[in-house]
Symmetry: C2
Subunit: 376 residues, 2 copies
């Protein structure tokens, strides 16, 4: 992309709100340079042009770019080697309708290149998460990075920060996508965390340096998290959590959507349960189940959780049948066990001796009974 | 059914183990009377015949039936008005293969007629349930009975007893299906509970009065719980819980299978999560979601959980856009809000006054900022 086009995108992203479908469509049709020229013409009759004119007073994109670079940010645009091509899915018509235009460019701080995010997974959820949710989020994020999948989240309180912190303990990409400028820290309590991610991996923002987070920008940011990643894991979300907007974007963009269940008594799991119930999200309980969903076919195969095998599993069929006839609680004489099992008395006698040796039955004054080991 | 046939079934159910596919097939082909005669012939060369002969010494079905009646039990057989025809599904060939033959008859104690169970729902789960699981089970069982759906469970510790006790507080059928004789209490600690169910609703068993519970009989009992009901709700189940055998039976019998999620850190929810993950069970979180699955089409429609609406939802579009431009944390001057929103300064001024009146923004020395109410 030419320097002029890059500068025009710097200007347009400062002057318009992210995801605006009309802007995205016009950039695609006429290019950023021509669009900026057209919008800057005060004779233009459209509301967009008037809005841009309102913001344009005393603005110079070259200064803006240099200022960003002094803050340690680079501006990545489509066509750059580093451009994450998966976000171009946001150009699809049905997505545009939801204020889902692709970003004009992305401000990035940190060594992780955005084209390394093709296997990334988003781990998101409630800001007011429970201890349960934050522990599960940290564990899943850690498992993902260990398996070579970058983790993307929003740097917020609750699940987001748990995901980032969980992923920190292993080496790998751990990317925060912010609703404010990539130079800012929101929430301010996460200044150290975001600085760390900016030094070791990446902090990404669609809005220009210095921009404040607004509600509309949070929603745009959520679409970007979904678009950048192969799949989104929602760890906790109340009935009306912002994480559900990320989930909707994942669905619209045909990304994998996964949900972690929790107690049905917890409001913070209600939104996730609803996603699973309506079939929008698949249920995952741990990192390797997420890997099974997002990984290349056949690379991650989950072994379903199994209890250890028990002594009774290895018994010959006839002994198992006799064991079945031994009561769980009230001891029974051998004759009654023989009748219940329908096996001749002498055979029962021999089998009970074998079962006793294996610790599965015991003999009391009143007869034979199962041991706790047989009840496992 | 003739008295002779009823007595032959009393005898066969005393002399064979429940669900035995060969016996079920032979009863279907030749009738219970002829089969009993054939099996009683000591010259018969089959192992089944020898097994029956072992148990047959000194047994008289008429005495057995009279003894059961003295204990307050009745013996219900196919063809009786009260026969629950849904259990005839156990005659299907693919079910027979899994020791799934239909019961020869059912011993019943209590006023609830078995043909009243056509809308019944099973609520089952771990014996070593958590407090969480027992609370959820009680709530679901109560909601089911209140909606006119009988609850069926196994009378065991944990989820079973929570389901029975939950259903007790409302009037309706609340049926325990036991792996031992319907006159016995297993576990013995549930003697009072089972007596209560036997007085007010029903205790059901396939095995004859006095029979002890054995492992094989628990598995047969589980198939009966699944067969008697329209659907099974598994509330908690570890990776190798007996409740999963009821779940498998529900699937084999094309009944509805539902699972209640729980913390992924709880071993008692692992088996349920696996059922949901593999698509065997649908996720339910409360009674009315169960009703939506098992009820007649259109009778129970669940309103998805929704958060209450918020003041910002009712704002005109332009005011919402200006509200979006107000920072969440660091106050901003009106000029910067106008630039962010891309709206003329005078309009912003008027809008901020309206938003302030609605309690959504507040003004400090350094400018405008959202109130906590706007952040809800």
């Amino acid at each position: 992309m030419s320097d002029a086009a890059r500068l025009a995108r710097v200007a347009l992203s400062r002057l318009t709100e992210p995801g605006e479908p009309k802007i995205a469509a016009l950039v695609a049709q006429m290019g950023a340079v021509a669009l900026l020229e057209a919008l800057s013409d005060p004779a233009q009759p459209t509301p967009e042009a008037r809005d841009v004119a309102t913001r344009l007073r005393g603005f110079d994109p070259e200064t803006d770019l240099a200022h960003g670079e002094r803050l340690g940010l680079r501006y990545v645009v489509p066509g750059d080697d580093e451009w994450p091509v998966q976000v171009d899915d946001l150009m699809r018509a049905e997505v545009l309708d939801h204020r889902g235009g692709p970003p004009l460019g992305l401000w990035v701080k940190g060594p992780t290149r955005l084209d390394e995010l093709s296997q990334a997974v988003a781990v998101v959820g409630s800001r007011s998460a429970t201890t349960y949710g934050t522990e599960v989020a940290a564990g899943i994020a850690q498992a993902l990075v260990r398996a070579g999948h970058p983790v993307v989240s929003g740097g917020a309180y609750g699940i987001d920060q748990a995901a980032h912190r969980g992923a920190l303990v292993v080496e790998g990409a751990n990317v925060a996508v912010l609703a404010c400028g990539a130079d800012r820290a929101y929430p301010t309590a996460h200044r150290d965390l975001l600085d760390h991610l900016g030094r070791t991996s990446a902090v990404v923002a669609e809005v220009s340096p210095g921009c404040a987070p607004t509600r509309g920008r949070f929603l745009s940011r959520n679409r970007l998290i979904a678009a950048l990643t192969r799949g989104t894991v929602v760890v906790e979300a109340a009935a009306r959590s912002g994480a559900l907007s990320t989930a909707s974007w994942a669905t619209r963009l045909h990304r994998h959507l996964m949900g972690v269940p929790g107690p049905v008594t917890s409001a913070q799991s209600q939104g996730v349960h609803e996603l699973i119930r309506k079939g929008a999200a698949s249920l995952v309980t741990r990192g390797d189940e997420v890997l099974e969903v997002v990984g290349e076919a056949g690379t991650h195969l989950v072994t379903p959780p199994r209890a250890r095998s028990r002594p009774r599993d290895k018994l010959p069929r006839r002994d198992a049948r006799i064991l079945d006839a031994v009561p769980l609680a009230s001891p029974a004489p051998i004759s009654s066990i023989a009748t219940t099992a329908g096996v001749a008395l002498l055979d029962v006698q021999a089998a009970l001796r074998r079962l006793h040796r294996d610790g599965l039955v015991e003999l009391s004054d009143r007869g034979w009974v199962l041991t706790p080991a047989a009840n496992e």
